[in-house]
């Protein structure tokens, strides 16, 4: 019970931050991904964009939103906590590092839920015909966020300075989306990059989200890989996130 209360307190502390400074979250989770959706439609090269393509672009924008929320925005918060002495304050408490990380992850999941729901509504308004499998979509979003939050925690815990960490989280937040076949098909990926991008978490996330938006439920393989990736990144994140310095 203590662990649950601890996580909820960490969540509430960061929620207050969102309440006071919603701007960066709105930019990262909604404005940029929506703009990217419109950009992808505009450069797709045909006047009549097929429903399948529209769904791929929407799935891409959802992945973009998740990546920006979990790595860029959340990474920034984690770095700020570490380099402004707030983490030191948490370290003085009878609080397990995992409770701190999970409190932050709950915060990120709440943002992901808001971001994804808003993008789905925006997609509907912009004429994307989807047949959402909500259960599958929820699981994909959850696993994608766990995996990306793990990366964020590792970067924030290992960076030597705020500027180094912030550069890394910004690069990774956008890079993981643009290096993966999120807005385009895997066949369109250059040969050398294809091998790398095939193993990026965003590749699996985009494929699974696209399937969920199309009402398909054949996402088991992608979910399995995302689960493994989430387990590995979170485990590494917990190990990096030690209260005690050497």
């Amino acid at each position: 019970m203590k662990r649950v209360i601890d996580m909820l307190c960490v969540f509430r502390i960061h929620l207050a931050r969102l309440r006071a400074e919603a701007g960066p979250f709105v930019l990262a989770a909604l404005v940029f991904p929506t703009a990217m959706y419109l950009f992808a439609i505009a450069v797709s090269g045909s006047d009549q964009v097929s429903d399948e393509r529209r769904i791929r672009f929407l799935a891409g924008s959802i992945v973009f939103s998740l990546s920006m929320t979990s790595i860029s925005w959340l990474g920034y918060l984690l770095l700020e906590n570490r380099f402004t002495g707030r983490l030191k304050l948490f370290a003085t408490l009878p609080l397990a590092p995992s409770s701190y990380v999970f409190g932050i992850v709950i915060f990120a999941l709440a943002q992901a839920a808001i971001g994804t729901a808003t993008l789905l509504i925006s997609g509907y308004v912009m004429g994307v015909h989807v047949h959402v499998n909500f259960a599958a979509l929820a699981v994909v979003v959850l696993l994608t966020m766990l995996c990306l939050c793990g990366i964020s925690v590792i970067v924030a815990a290992r960076s030597r300075s705020f500027s180094e960490g912030s550069l890394l989280t910004d690069s990774l937040g956008a890079g993981l989306v643009f290096l993966a076949p999120v807005y385009y098909s895997p066949q369109a990926t250059p040969g050398g990059l294809r091998q790398l991008s095939a193993w990026l978490p965003t590749t699996f996330a985009a494929r699974a989200i696209q399937a969920s938006l199309a009402g398909r439920s054949q996402v088991a393989t992608d979910l399995l890989v995302l689960s493994l990736m989430a387990a590995v990144t979170l485990m590494l994140g917990f190990r990096a996130m030690a209260w005690r310095e050497d």
Binding site: A16, G85, K88, L89, T92, L93, P94, W243, R244, D246
Partner: protein
């Protein structure tokens, strides 16, 4: 009776009551052979043995870079020692940091607060981390903000407060949940005199309630006012840790003659130490001093003697 004598009397009674109390009580802190060598090779602590009885107030003095903060950070489990042992109320602090932190209230030297949370939100949420129920957390937050003079700022976001007010919140966070041991790293640095006195009152209150306090400070007056024992760290070693009275016995020359040089009357005041009052008087007669004062040595003198530092803007020497 002057202020100083009152101060000494108060201090002695505090030492006495604490001694009586601790005689029957267990050890709160037990440190043995504590060494800390950083990765860059700096030896910050070079083998510290340190005991604090339950209910005692022990202050740690020492020059900048002497190893005070490193020592306290190891005590609070924030920093892993290179070797040695630390026990807090009999619990191994190195092996069970979380259990130990449940018994401690900690104010780090530098820690950041959350700019977007109000004072009340800080106190309530951090009380919850310490295991208090919602109702208890609300009451504890209320009492703490009152005690630290933060009632008027209760609903304000921390980002709008002054540095001194933020420091008081950090102390308040340490007090939540009535911890058995308070470890405060320079708690009153940056506070105005009134705030400093209110923090002293709070420390006295928690000690009266049975808590044990270990704190570091740069203010010698603070150490004198609050402590049962005073530890002095120099170059990573605890060179002394005793009551004020016993620390005085360490000085071979406990009479302090401060005078202006007859050949340089507008220069800095000179200070010399003597073993007896008569020796100091002989010196006055020999040098035909006209402007001088003789006093018993102070904690400041002990500090400078034990750390080997020199007081600023004074020529200091012992008698030959």
């Amino acid at each position: 009776m002057n202020d100083k004598s009152l101060l000494v009397l108060n201090h002695s009674s505090s030492v006495q009551s604490s001694a009586q109390q601790s005689a029957a009580s267990p050890t709160a802190v037990r440190v043995r052979g504590l060494k800390k060598r950083y990765k860059d090779g700096t030896a910050a602590n070079r083998g510290i043995d340190f005991d604090v009885k339950t209910g005692e107030v022990v202050s740690i003095l020492g020059p900048n870079g002497a190893g005070k903060t490193t020592f306290l950070r190891q005590l609070t489990t924030e920093l892993r020692p290179t070797s040695g042992s630390i026990e807090i109320f009999g619990v191994n602090a190195i092996a069970e940091p979380e259990r130990v932190k449940q018994m401690m209230g900690i104010t780090p030297q530098e820690a950041g607060l959350f700019q977007t949370l109000t004072v009340r939100e800080h106190l309530e949420l951090f009380a919850r981390f310490k295991g208090l129920s919602k109702q208890q957390a609300r009451l504890a937050a209320f009492d703490t903000r009152d005690e630290l003079g933060l009632s008027a700022e209760s609903g304000k976001r921390v980002g709008l407060l002054s540095g001194g007010q933020r420091r008081r919140i950090l102390i308040g966070l340490a007090l939540l949940g009535c911890p058995r041991l308070l470890v405060l790293d320079e708690p009153t640095t940056g506070l105005d005199p009134a705030s400093r006195h209110s923090v002293w009152q709070v420390i006295r209150r928690v000690v009266a309630d049975g808590a044990t306090v270990v704190f570091s400070t740069h203010y010698i007056e603070e150490a004198e006012q609050l402590s049962d024992r005073i530890g002095i760290i120099s170059e990573g070693r605890l060179v002394a840790c005793d009551s004020l009275d016993r620390l005085f016995t360490r000085l071979e020359q406990s009479y302090r003659l401060e005078y202006s040089d007859p050949f340089d009357p507008f220069g800095e005041m000179c200070v010399r130490y003597f073993a007896t009052f008569a020796e100091a008087q002989d010196e006055i007669a020999r040098e035909q001093l006209s402007e001088y004062s003789i006093a018993r040595a102070s904690l400041e003198d002990i500090y400078f003697t034990l750390t080997g530092e020199r007081p600023p803007s004074r020529n200091t020497e012992g008698s030959e």
